[in-house]
Symmetry: C2
Subunit: 222 residues, 2 copies
């Protein structure tokens, strides 16, 4: 059970958010990776509804979560933290050669070629809901997201994982796909939906999800 209040490794998260964010706040990526390798960690949970203190901005310049520290380095950005953890454990990232760079390429693709297109739909549906233009903007956003999901489906083919075996690239991509769970868009690409389900079926993911949601509920009014 990697969650351990005495651990030296720290991951930041939120202790309350609107319910739509439960299970998709990005500290889930780091919790999942740490569960996969059994590395103990503790959390520092912030109130998502209040501005972060200046001290936190020294650690995470955009005020987001997660940030990470382990007594050796302090860093931010879930993608960078996954790379850091991957370099320390081959179960997360092959140590060298083509497999290592396939993993790195797919990790970056999840964050830069897929997530922005999917988050645009989340932005329209959740943050801009009720704005008169949001509904008109949605079909173009969906078309762009579907283009990327079609390419992802082709690239997956009949593979279980993006880089041959489970890696941090899959942690990134599966958690990116989860952002569309309020829609039926991913279901339109059966190979992608099956891939997402395969990731979510891993015990390490289930534990990470349960721990994130328990943390988020700490901030709920009694």
């Amino acid at each position: 059970m990697p969650l351990d209040p005495a651990a030296e490794t720290v991951v930041t998260g939120f202790r309350n958010t609107p319910e739509f964010a439960h299970g998709i706040v990005r500290d889930i990526r780091i919790r999942w990776a740490l569960e996969e390798i059994g590395r103990p960690y503790r959390t520092e949970l912030y109130d998502a509804m209040k501005p972060r203190a200046d001290e936190y901005l020294q650690w995470q310049p955009f005020g987001q979560v997660p940030a990470f520290a382990d007594g050796k380095v302090r860093l931010f950005e879930s993608g960078a933290i996954l790379l850091y953890l991957g370099e320390q454990d081959e179960r997360l990232l092959p140590a060298a050669g083509q497999r290592r760079w396939d993993t790195t390429a797919w990790l970056i693709a999840a964050l830069n070629s897929v997530e922005p297109m999917l988050m645009q739909i989340v932005t329209l549906d959740i943050f801009y809901v009720g704005k008169p233009w949001a509904a008109d903007a949605r079909p173009s956003a969906v078309a762009l997201a579907e283009q990327r999901l079609a390419r992802l489906a082709d690239a997956l083919g009949d593979k279980d994982w993006l880089a041959g075996r489970f890696t941090i690239a899959d942690i990134a991509m599966v958690t990116v796909l989860r952002n569309l769970r309020h829609t039926e868009i991913v279901a339109g690409f059966p190979a992608v939906a099956a891939y997402q389900a395969r990731g979510e079926a891993r015990p390490a993911f289930s534990q990470a999800l349960a721990d994130q949601i328990a943390g988020l509920k700490q901030g709920e009014p009694a």
Copy 2:
């Protein structure tokens, strides 16, 4: 002069694009990094207006540029290629310790916490120009981009570069900022504008830019 038709290292790019894309197509990032370290490369240039062949999709699953190969690995995603080049040359990426992870965190921040917000403005201004909702959607997109640029300005403070000295994080962030060159938005953040100008003043950037534009013009009608 790293551009060398006999080089083993290959970078893919476009040989024609609409003019707004000149100087911002993402192969500029890889050209710039290779110029910084004097590593020879050749290009494979594709027609941006035609669909990519299935063979190319095996290399770059989203049909984008750049893709990269050097006889040892094949990979895609400009962020991943920058990390690969960085691991081979400390001038691009410190070899270990906090500086290495500061660089990695800022590289990912450029691609995942800044670029999507800036590209949303490009999407509205260029791709969706004329759609009746695009003008209405713009103020929200600008507000979000400005939030990120304000944080970036704070993080830069009076530093010349994001991770203490010039690194691949700066190649990523400066080229991300260049996407807003059709606007005055970055000028509203003088520390960020000065940082962008500092990056663009490097001889390696100038050479990369000149070579990209020469390549893009190959496809122009005679």
